[in-house]
Subunit: 335 residues, 2 copies
């Protein structure tokens, strides 16, 4: 990564931002790589987990970078999962009104989703990603070897987005995920590498068409409109919430006659193959979900948009979904 | 301003950000104007002064806006001086990764300088404007009638930037400032309006050529390389510091043979006409100034750039200024 960071910098200084879990595995080789590229690197290690995506944590990073003498020509290297890349990317976006950064995602979710597209953010206590900026990294480096040490639940978070990418854009990828599920779950790098590359391509294509999420980019929200509400209501991991969101939204599409049952069942089977949930034993409180969704930032001027499948690999955005349809979709999750 | 805010919004909601001094004068008419344009306006009033340009104050504004239900289609209206427009602009730049904003500067400094160019920021305890973003306002509304109530010292802050604009780009404006000094100081709106318009045009032209301050935009730093150091070292107001910075940098240019003494003396006479300082009775600690300047964010990779006059209305950027030249320039300020 040293070479890419050096290319992004217009000066000698770099800040390596990571979390303590990742630091234990990769801090030394990462610093070594930066030094070998003749960058003066200072490291900033944040606690692991969403709790680090705060304005206060960003404030500590600004302190650290200022003390280390980072200037407008310096570069930030974000080494870790989505929390680290979101946080470090936001700090890079706002330090001296924006300096260069390089993302080195070490989770599957980071590699296939979070690092591509230039979205950076920290959380507000009452709203995830409320405070943020669009700030493209100079480079995104994905090394699938880092996935070998990834906890299962983290792998699932990435697989949910991978299934989403297949559902919105790529029937062939969908087939391949089913066919190679076993080797994917075994983290075989030879299988993971082309799959990660394919996902990055899908996300990058969608984002390049529309960086600011006005239109095309919205299709990336498949499974997320309901998923985000379930995530905050039930405290589920992102991957589990998105899997349930995709199931609810696929059933919504089925009820509208947009898509046949076979597609819904194929999506269900693939999610189950990756040990992602497709039903809720406890059910979901539909009214509280609706309240959260109305607060959710995806809405503008009160309209709620849904991304609904029309086939494996094809979706459409609809704006006329009624509250009753949402209630029925949530009810369909009851296991 | 209601009309411009409504045009910038893609939804019904607006947040009016101002400080308590300005609120006493203009809050009600401003809210009325927003309501008349059919915007649901929530107001957020911050304490006056640089102390409000903090990440913590930005945090309170995010809270307020979230509670008022502002979404991506909402608009922020910043009504006040540079502190309010910098802060509210930064909050608009980072709320939900950037929403629209309208600047309504009520100080001369805000009208001729701070609101034009898209720079937004809050301060770090150890570095002004460290945390910020480029985020162009949808509109900048300058009403010179608001200058009638402006304290003298605030007027001087704006006049210093006006003299700077004349020095870097506009010999005719320089003449006019001298000829009309009396009516300017009396805040005659008929005289101020074309002068404000001329200044906005100069700043906008420079910024449009180069939004990100790589090259052309640097000429706006005339008087600021030394001025910023004096500002933080001596606790001077921005206008006084910039006036002294322009004097020091003009004398630096004179010592280099870039400009004749007559130009330096004309600049001096105009600054004095506006009761801006041209010398320091106490002198300035050159070594401490140098230390501050080296820390100043204008530098990149160690190089310090100076903007030096070649004539009234024309400057050049130089990078080869020695520490001894800087010491001599600071010494020249001793009154």
């Amino acid at each position: 990564m040293g070479r890419e960071a050096k290319a992004a910098a217009r000066g000698p200084k770099a800040a390596l931002v990571t979390d303590s879990s990742v630091a234990g595995l990769y801090l030394e080789p990462a610093l070594e790589s930066l030094r070998a590229a003749r960058l003066e690197a200072t490291s900033a290690i944040v606690p692991p987990g969403e709790g680090s995506k705060t304005l206060a944590q960003a404030g500590e990073l600004y302190d650290r970078m200022l003390r280390a003498g980072l200037d407008r020509g310096s570069v930030v290297v974000a080494l870790g999962g989505g929390v680290v890349t979101d946080l470090a990317g936001f700090v890079a976006a706002t330090y001296m009104r924006g300096i260069a950064w390089v993302a080195v995602p070490t989770t599957l979710l980071g590699q296939v989703d979070a690092s591509v597209g230039g979205k950076t953010a920290v959380d507000h206590p009452e709203c995830k990603n409320l405070i943020g900026a669009f700030h493209q990294p100079s480079a995104v480096l994905c090394d699938v070897a880092t996935l070998a040490t990834l906890p299962d639940e983290e792998l699932r978070n990435g697989l949910a987005e991978t299934v989403k990418h297949a559902m919105i854009r790529d029937a062939r990828l969908f087939e391949e995920l089913g066919r190679r599920a076993e080797t994917i779950l075994a983290r075989d790098p030879a299988v993971l590498e082309p799959i990660v590359a394919r996902n990055v391509r899908i996300k990058a294509d969608v984002v390049a068409a529309d960086e600011r999420e006005s239109d095309t980019r919205r299709i990336l929200n498949y499974g997320h409109t309901i998923g985000h509400a379930l995530e905050s209501l039930l405290g589920l991991t992102h991957g589990r919430a998105v899997a349930l969101g995709m199931m609810a939204e696929a059933r919504m599409a089925e009820r509208r006659g947009l898509v046949g049952r076979a597609v819904v069942e194929r999506q269900k089977a693939l999610l189950e193959r990756f040990s992602l949930p497709v039903s809720l034993p406890t059910g979901a409180d539909a009214e509280r979900c609706l309240t959260i969704m109305r607060h959710d930032k995806k809405g503008e001027a009160g309209r709620m948009r849904f991304v609904l499948p029309e086939a494996i690999g094809r979706v459409r955005v609809v704006e006329d979904v009624t509250d009753d349809e949402i209630r029925a979709a949530l009810l369909s999750l009851a296991g």
